[in-house]
Symmetry: C2
Subunit: 142 residues, 2 copies
């Protein structure tokens, strides 16, 4: 198993699985949002598989989702942190879990799996547009 | 001081201040993203003031930003949680801090300030587009 960050590993979109990684929460809202984003990406019919995984509290876990994809024969996985910005979760906690997925008893099944770890959402003019919409939604008379 | 949620309080965009509320982090990335989003919203020249505030770890705090806006004479404030989804932070922690800003010694200065608390980003087709861009950025040959 190799974890690559933005490096060529030879996959195309048609043989790639995408894993949307969420923070996880005691409350149901975050999971609901992530599952709906997953559904909408799946509807675009770009990638062979689109799944969710949660860093904590919600299921499935990151390890579980990666192992299931490997058991289903997926060799190329893009793991995307669905976070607004980098922080300790995206730079430490999630990479640790990506590495842990195919250690020990899972080493064999993960041997040929390439995991590419993407970047969080970050600054984007589309986020600016959304925030302005949310401000206007909250204002009187809207 | 009145905290309103999506209710008419009589303001227009020209006399409204927007506060972008971030999670806060030990690492600098989240603050950098929020400050750049603030700058871009300010550049649109829609609102009288656009400021940032952090729920924890980073400064300024939510209380500090709200008190400074009140001291500057702002009467209408839209406080927007810059989070992807609702969770304990947006439904419990941040509302508590919004309420606490003008309690005790700060009651007088906050008496005429209307705070409208907005909604997080949530499911939005523009988020789907951004996530697809991030997946493609991470893929080989891009």
């Amino acid at each position: 198993m190799a974890i690559e960050e933005n490096r060529a590993v030879g996959e195309s979109e048609e043989d790639t699985a995408v894993v949307l990684i969420g923070h996880g929460s005691k409350l149901p809202y975050g999971k609901g949002v992530l599952e709906e984003l997953r559904r909408r990406i799946e509807m675009r019919e770009i990638f062979r598989e689109v799944r969710v995984a949660f860093m904590q509290l919600d299921s499935p876990s990151i390890e579980e989702t990666l192992r299931n994809l490997a058991k289903d024969g997926m060799k190329n996985i893009v793991a995307l942190p669905v976070f607004l910005a980098d922080g300790a979760h995206t730079t430490e906690d999630i990479p640790e879990k990506l590495k842990a997925a195919f250690e020990g008893a899972w080493e064999e099944i993960g041997r040929d799996v390439n995991i590419v770890y993407g970047k969080p959402i970050g600054v984007d003019e589309r986020i600016v547009d959304i925030l302005l919409d949310r401000v206007k939604d909250a204002m009187p008379g809207e």
